[in-house]
Symmetry: C2
Subunit: 312 residues, 2 copies
Amino acid sequence: MAAAAGVSLSTASLAFSGNKPVSEPTRARVLAAASSLGYSGPNPLARNLRQGRSGVVGIAVGQLSTAFRDPAALPMLDAVSEVLGSAGMGLLLMGDDEGHARLPLDAVIYDVCGREDGWLPYDDLVARDVPLVVVEGPAWPGTTFIDVEHRAGSAALAAHLHDLGHRRVALVTLEQSHPQREREAGTREVFPDLHVVGECASDLAAAQELVSAFLDTSPDVTAIVCQSDVQAAGVVLEARRRGLSVPGDLSVAGFDGVPTPWLDLTLTTVVQPIAEKGRTTAHAVLARIAGEHVDDVVLPVELRIGDSTGPA
Amino acid sequence: MAAAAGVSLSTASLAFSGNKPVSEPTRARVLAAASSLGYSGPNPLARNLRQGRSGVVGIAVGQLSTAFRDPAALPMLDAVSEVLGSAGMGLLLMGDDEGHARLPLDAVIYDVCGREDGWLPYDDLVARDVPLVVVEGPAWPGTTFIDVEHRAGSAALAAHLHDLGHRRVALVTLEQSHPQREREAGTREVFPDLHVVGECASDLAAAQELVSAFLDTSPDVTAIVCQSDVQAAGVVLEARRRGLSVPGDLSVAGFDGVPTPWLDLTLTTVVQPIAEKGRTTAHAVLARIAGEHVDDVVLPVELRIGDSTGPA
DNA sequence: TTGTACGCGTTATCAT
DNA sequence: ATGATAACGCGTACAA
């Protein structure tokens, strides 16, 4: 290493890291020797071994292509990445395939966000004492939870519809998952005998297709609640395509509070603090890595009444 | 370590890795001792140092939120992730912030894909001899290139419009970048005095807004070429909103060949092999990590004539 | 087939 | 302010 070249040995370490004061002349000699020998700073691998940390945090998001298709997922990832990045940590994408068990991860974020449960190699991570932060996921012991008021938000939205006089209400659900179940439970607090249209991805075309079949057969509802804004946008478009006016003939509501550029109206929805969810998650990760205890968090939501719902 | 606990010492290493034959009884003892001591396999950090590899590949994509908003970016990421994942490597997201210089990356993918050039800490990576694979980027020495026939594809599309009789053609461009420049150059091969409408992101609303201002003032064109399908979709929607029929009054073309669920017509576009681009990139990365030489690649595109273009 | 010993390149501790 | 030394945990060449 550069030590032999310059003069001293582990003073070089200090010259680079700056953890202890080093006199200016020696520092200069070290850097000069380093560059002449083509040495580009401490080897990250060795540093990692020594410090017991890799500087990499995994984020499990299921199938990548579908996970990021949802506009609610991106700002979350963005916020996580920003906070982690400014702490010098990298973010590693974990698909639902394997092999990641052998990667040195300082922590793992398990972001279900509307996707299936249970595909994560949870036991491996626990065995290796990797801190686990679960976002909107099922309850596992030893992990930190970041959740959102899915149930209360959905209930508030349902109450709004009830206030408008709606009684025959249908629900378009997401795939089975923790947030899906919570949101449905919230809606059922107000409308116990809800008609469930069916389940589909948070995808415009999928929602249109699903609701199209529904409207063909039993249009006997005055409102359709969706578990995501993208689904709601699809429902609005499909309703209009059939000549139904929204909210005149049909009220439509969503969940998330993301932009819906396909619509010229403001969706009635439950706005969740997506960026804050990401920041909170990242800070929880950093705290867990630092060995601190972190309390679970439930983030508040806000009912936004737009133009897509009206009197029954 | 588990060695002391069981009976043997570093035979344990072989028991886990299986690089050399180990007798069944000893292997059993090793595994038993390991689990009773709560030992969960070799420490990835130590293994990495020993092997000189981290198993992590970085992918630089600029601002995360905007990078993945483009539907052409996801399948690429997906393919890269799949190939790398099945080789046991992880994919680390590199935003445009810093700090990643201290992470142990075995290689870096520089995926500009329609974004600004020049923000990558290129020198650092070269200094550390990190293999660099540049996708659709500017030419740097010592890196491997994966490119697409932007220019030829754009020229072919322009020729198609010319054949249809179009002479007054406008262009909606992406942000300054390598593919943007190449695509424009291809279009200009056929229409040297192209009217450039302006530059905008690959975003539905942005394209609508941009072209709306254009149609207000100078609707003296018979065709609008866009540098992405999403832009083209926005242009079609905006044209129709103004009562123009597509392709009756205005022909519109895109680039990419991605799904456009907002439209009920098939866009005339240049289809690029996105998934193959990802797989090719990943294989190039693996080869470079293995120390092999990798030739640059230019992937072919295909002109798809849809319903959005017609006679002038 | 199994055990021994060394080195990967750092950083932290301790002494100078 | 600087230098020596140990240890992080593994892989592997070599010896038994």
